[in-house]
């Protein structure tokens, strides 16, 4: 098995910055990314987007340019189109490129696998036409594709406003924004106003987005308390109620509904590795344990960016640099003095980047009803398991997500719990009266992404990375048959 000194997984801001930093110290890192082009989700399609008017996607998007360019100068072994389907504590990395699966080993691994949108289970969220707001962003950035009227956006958080603004700049009509931010969030957020003042640039950006939406005359409903997506076979209309008019169901035709309740770390790999995860009550998500340099509790593994806790693109890049420095130091390519010299200014910059987070986390915290939906709502999209079914098995004495999986298949479909894991942990914790830490999360299993039997069999031959030969089926030593 080929061994490489440093593998970085994910070519978003954290992964790209980590790679550039390692390369600066003369180490040629291998950067694996599932996508065909660099940028992660935030800077997605930066080199190829058909939307070349800079103001359309906004300056924050184009900020990623220098990171992307650094991948192209040859100092980094950048491998797009490489899906990592397996990782273990020994540093074994299972890769899939095209139809070929292979196993390599890395001495140090930086996980920069980013974030995903928080599950947003409401009645009808499985209907075609209902999507994550992040999906709409991907379509806009990569293909210049936008939803047609009538379009409704619902949820809360900066990305929701950004999508609405980008749409309106591009001339696409937004029928309504249904804001789910509960009233008490404003009071709780006010307690963190000090941080917001320190992060005044973000605050100003947010306010100017809101102003832009107001100027564009987009209908903006506040304190939505209930939301249903409805239609026969596809989305046809959206119904909602607000705190101000709790008795009145309002309705709006819609062929697209974009939902957003912020993003949460993508923990598929850190979970599968069996690292410790802590529940962040502020961000309502699991965060893999890491220190200030991104060192995880698993030897040889480093975590950078939103995959370790949500901080945004700029802090992700800083964390990528820190993790790369820590990895270099652990490989004796950087001494303690140099490590301190390099990390100190980055820690200061990171603290300033993150200053506004407590304010944003408090302001855009999704209310309980959105995270623990009513019984009839589907929580597991793959296996179509409802919240009521999860509650039912909890009453049967099933106290954790892994036992529940065996009863209901919830979380056992191809998405491997990405879209139900948080919801299930929260519902079970509520039903059993346990804390969410006691309740825990799915034990995740490789492959992280489905791989075909044929591809898996191709990993059997054990030839070295890049030196594969075609080989027929191998004789198998008979062992004792199992049940």
């Amino acid at each position: 098995m080929r061994t490489i000194p440093l593998a970085i997984i994910g070519a978003g801001p954290a992964g790209m910055a980590a790679a550039a930093t390692a390369a600066r110290y003369g180490l040629k890192p291998v950067l694996f990314d599932e996508q065909p082009a660099p940028g992660g989700q935030i800077y997605r399609a930066l080199e190829s987007t058909p939307l070349r008017r800079p103001e359309l996607l906004g300056e924050d998007y184009w900020h990623g340019k220098s990171l992307v360019q650094a991948l192209r100068d040859g100092a980094i072994d950048y491998r797009p189109g490489h899906t990592v389907w397996q990782l273990n504590r020994d540093g074994e990395v299972g890769l899939l490129a095209g139809d070929r699966a292979e196993l390599i080993r890395a001495e140090r691994i930086v996980l920069a696998t980013g974030a995903q949108e928080r599950p947003f289970p409401i009645p009808g969220w499985t209907l075609p036409g209902v999507m994550g707001a992040g999906a709409a962003q991907v379509l806009l950035k990569t293909s210049g594709v936008a939803a047609q009227a009538p379009l409704v956006l619902a949820g809360s958080g900066p990305l929701l406003y950004l999508v609405a603004a980008q749409y309106s700049r591009a001339g696409a009509a937004v029928a309504a924004i249904l804001e789910t931010t509960p009233r008490e969030n404003f009071r709780h957020a006010a307690g963190h106003i000090g941080g917001a003042v320190k992060g005044w640039r973000y605050l100003r950006k947010g306010l100017s987005l809101l102003k832009e939406l107001k100027r564009a005359g987009i209908r903006h409903e506040h304190q939505v308390t209930e939301l249903h997506a409805e239609g026969n076979g596809r989305l046809q209309h959206v119904r909602w109620r607000t705190a101000a008019r709790p008795d009145v169901w309002q309705q709006c035709d819609a062929t697209t509904l974009l939902l957003h309740h912020g993003v949460v770390p993508n923990v598929q790999m850190t979970r599968a590795l069996g690292g410790e995860h802590d529940w962040s009550e502020a961000q309502l998500c699991w965060c893999p344990r890491r220190d200030s340099l991104g060192r995880s509790d698993i030897e040889g593994f480093f975590i950078a960016g939103d995959g370790g806790g949500i901080g945004g693109a700029k802090s992700a890049a800083l964390q990528g640099e820190l993790a790369a420095l820590a990895a270099l130091a652990s490989l004796d390519l950087l001494d303690d003095v140099a490590l301190h010299r390099e990390t100190a200014p980055r820690h200061r910059a990171l603290a300033s980047e993150l200053a506004i987070r407590p304010f944003l986390d408090a302001l855009y915290r999704p209310g309980d009803r959105w995270r623990r939906p009513a019984d009839e709502v589907i929580v597991c999209r793959c296996e179509e398991v409802s919240a009521g079914e999860v509650r039912r098995v909890a009453k049967l004495g099933c106290s954790g997500p892994n036992q529940m999986k065996s009863f209901t298949r919830c979380g056992m479909g191809p998405c491997q719990g990405r879209l139900c894991g948080l919801t299930v942990s929260e519902i079970l914790a509520e039903e059993t009266g346990q804390s969410i830490e006691q309740t825990g999360y799915y034990r995740l299993r490789p492959p992280f992404k489905p791989i075909t039997l044929g591809q898996m069999a191709s990993a059997a031959d054990g030839t070295d990375y890049g030196q594969r030969q075609q080989q027929g089926s191998t004789a198998v030593v008979t062992e004792k048959a199992s049940s």
Binding site: R234, R381, E384, P414, L419
Partner: protein, 99 residues
Amino acid sequence: MFAYLKQPDARETVTIEFEGRALAVREGDTVAAALLASGVDIFRSTPVSESPRGPWCMMGGCFDCLLEIDGVPNRQGCQITVSEGMTVIRQQGARRISP
């Protein structure tokens, strides 16, 4: 429903076949983006209840954009780039196989 903000001109497009219908789509797009831009919103029916689904996340996580592409079922439409002459059909229920 989705559409291109600016219709790509002929030099930028490739032709794929969706459910027997020829679609001119932007070269370099993913199959999911190309179908959405062509007005397709239903990609598959689920194996459990055969209810209709379309893409949810567009970043490879949700597996709701599964399609049968060039004869291979259950492929993620948002992770595969279109190519000239590609044939795509909806994924209906559990994947079919022919022993």
